[in-house]
């Protein structure tokens, strides 16, 4: 087993899928000779050539839109959006086209495609290189939405996404690209199924639900409060849509308390849905109000670093949230 970074897991997934299936191609801005602005596609242009690793015009809606067309014809596009903040021009293609194709054609046409986009703050990116936009897409039937929090899941989920017959949006916690490291099993073909949350830490006092970078921090926060005697169960949601309700409900039935952590804006964020599911279906198990710990309701993380620190959740803020929840 080799220890690799999260972004290396992503790169390996693409490399293996390009090698496995010639229908797979990559399209996006600077994915070619540049290897991606974060280097996720490093070496792939050299290995597979310009017809399979395609530098697109600077135009997100057509990156997705041409990907849809190619998928309809039978290819398997991996579309890269350089930053999640720039996925908005493609919103119409994703929401009105890719997501609705299967249902609107009564299954005659499907869109097997992956849209990769680095998301999240804490990298000095200001309002437009820090956004967490997952909640815009988890409200859209027909899409799958995936967020890995470690190199193994990053690789296995991306490989599954490439093979999935549906449009999958794959958000990458960019702050964790090189910060998050982990073991990669030497499997020939590592696949992590889409649609399953994972209990990343067993505990009995309360359940914390998180994903991506916030899951990484939450695990650390859980260890800190463990020393204070608080036994936290951590659930890595991993797939945000479709929702693994069973795992979520079971955890709260056990612990009786739920804290949902996400770094995007609080109001209308993904955590609202988790809370609503629990408030309806785990009501009798709940011993405390459901709480959400999330980004404040300002547009996104500001640039200036004290302001950015104010915006961003971190290990100590999460630990504090857990403590206050445990006291209830």
């Amino acid at each position: 087993m080799a220890e690799v970074t999260l972004i290396e897991g992503i790169r390996q997934a693409m490399d293996e899928e390009l090698a496995r299936d010639e229908r797979v191609f990559i399209v996006g801005e600077d994915v070619g000779p540049r290897g991606g602005v974060f280097r996720a596609t490093e070496g792939l242009y050299e290995k597979y050539g310009g017809s399979r690793v395609v530098d697109s015009p600077l135009a997100e809606l057509s990156i997705v839109g041409m990907g849809i067309g190619a998928a309809l014809y039978g290819l398997r596009p991996i579309c890269e959006i350089q930053f999640a903040d720039f996925i908005h021009p493609a919103f119409n293609q994703i929401v009105n086209e890719a997501a609705k194709m299967c249902y609107r054609s009564n299954g005659a046409w499907t869109v097997p495609m992956v849209i990769r986009a680095p998301y999240g703050g804490g990298i000095g990116g200001g309002l437009y290189h820090s956004q967490s936009v997952e909640a815009f897409f988890t409200h859209v039937p027909g899409l799958k939405v995936v967020v890995p929090s470690n190199p193994r899941d990053a690789k296995g989920l991306l490989k599954s996404a490439v093979r999935d017959p549906n449009p999958v949006i794959y958000f990458e916690p960019k702050k964790g690209y090189r910060l998050i490291k982990g073991e990669l099993p030497e499997e020939d073909d590592l696949l992590v199924p889409i649609g399953q949350a994972s209990i990343s830490r067993q505990g009995k006092d309360l359940s914390v639900f998180a994903y991506g970078m916030m899951h990484y921090y939450t695990l650390q926060a859980a260890e800190i409060v463990a020393e204070e005697g608080i036994d936290v169960e951590v659930v890595d949601l991993r797939t945000l849509l479709p929702i693994d309700e069973q795992t979520i409900l079971k955890s709260v039935e056990k612990t009786g308390k739920a804290l949902i952590v996400y770094e995007g804006n609080l109001t209308g964020g993904y955590g609202a849905e988790i809370s609503a599911i629990l408030a309806e279906k785990a009501f009798v198990s709940l011993d405390a109000p459901i709480r959400r710990l999330a980004g404040p309701d300002v547009p996104a993380a500001p640039f200036s670093h004290p302001l950015q620190d104010w915006f961003m959740l971190d290990v100590s803020k999460i630990a504090a949230g857990i403590r206050s929840m445990a006291e209830y």
């Binding site: 057509s62 839109g65 067309g69 190619a70 293609q93 086209e97 249902y103 005659a108 027909g142």
Partner: protein, 335 residues
């Protein structure tokens, strides 16, 4: 229609009669749809009346069964030429079971027909253009001997989606034909409020691909133009933008009332230029069809339309138990 000295050799008399048949059939079922709508038989109809020559000329210039189509809502005659049956269209009007484009999930005229390489289309205008670019990309990627044609109204070329889709095809020299059916209106908005160029074809100059304007009321002129663009595309010569000037001889749709924004004289004048009549007269004049044979076409069209409507009326609505499927590909029932 002008009498031409020389037309494409492929265009045999037989083929011309087939073209006329589809134009006529399209016109007749379209007219019937207006009638039935007025009788309250279904809530919505959007019409291709006045566009038939452009659509049929384009469709016949393609290799049906092999080439791909990414049409828009006015393309009734085009999709009939590609193989949609009148009965299938009628199922769509009434939202009946078995409607092939969407299982009656979408409004009428939202085409899609897997067996004929017609991809599923939606309502937001312009979104289909990048899809066509992607199909063109995939054809080239695979080295297949197909091309793709996508159509759109002139108003919808104002969308950034259109611009970006055409740009892809021009950069990568993809085998795509961009057909613009210019009827001078987008619902009520005239062309002069959509663009500062006087012909849509000029937009090609800004995108670096060939662009031409053809008389979209002349089915042979359209056929010729699309045929040569198709030949070039198939030979690796890249995309073409073809503007076909047509007439929207009806209100935008059954929800519209065009008296608010255009004169009755304008409509009356259009009738003189009716593309279906023009082609009929041409065929008669050229002795390609006799008056009698023409009359037979008319009665056969009437019968086919009657049968199609009857079929759709007799068909039940879709089963409500199926309404929640298939949102994901896993939900598709096979067999």
């Amino acid at each position: 229609m002008e009498v031409r000295e020389k037309i494409q050799t492929e265009l045999t008399h037989e083929l011309m009669l087939e073209m006329y048949w589809i134009m006529l059939l399209s016109r007749r079922i379209d007219e019937r749809a207006w009638l039935l709508h007025r009788q309250g038989k279904f809530p919505f109809h959007i019409s291709g009346i006045g566009h038939e020559a452009a659509q049929v000329g384009a469709a016949f210039a393609l290799k049906r069964g092999k080439d791909w189509l990414v049409p828009y809502y006015r393309d009734l005659a085009m999709v009939l030429a590609f193989g949609l049956t009148p009965a299938e269209f009628a199922l769509g009007l009434m939202g009946k079971k078995g409607e092939p484009s969407s299982g009656a999930r979408q409004m009428p005229s939202h085409w899609g027909l897997r067996r004929a390489n017609i991809i599923s289309t939606s309502s937001p205008v312009g979104t289909q253009t990048p899809h066509a670019a992607g199909i063109g990309f995939a054809i080239k990627y695979r080295g297949d001997d197909a091309i793709v044609l996508t159509s759109i109204g002139e108003g919808s070329t104002s969308q950034g989606e259109w611009y970006e889709g055409v740009n892809w095809a021009a950069i990568h020299q993809l085998p795509v034909i961009f057909l613009v059916e210019n009827n001078e209106y987008a619902i009520s908005v005239p062309r002069s409020k959509q663009m500062a160029v006087s012909n849509v074809a000029e937009k090609a100059n800004g995108l670096g691909l060939p662009g031409i304007t053809v008389n979209g009321l002349d089915v042979i002129e359209v056929y010729d133009a699309v045929k040569s663009a198709a030949d070039r595309a198939r030979a690796g010569g890249g995309p073409t933008l073809i503007e076909a000037t047509v007439l929207r001889m009806t209100p935008h749709s059954s929800d519209d009332d065009d008296r608010m924004y255009r004169s009755r004289e304008e409509i009356e004048e259009m009738k003189q230029k009716d593309p279906v009549n023009a082609f009929r007269d041409y065929l008669i004049q050229q002795n390609i069809i006799t008056e009698a044979a023409q009359e037979k076409f008319q009665s056969r069209a009437k019968e086919e339309v009657n049968a199609a409507i009857k079929f759709a009326e007799d068909t039940p609505y879709p089963d409500v138990e199926d309404a929640s499927y298939p949102v994901y590909a896993e939900d598709i029932r096979h067999g």
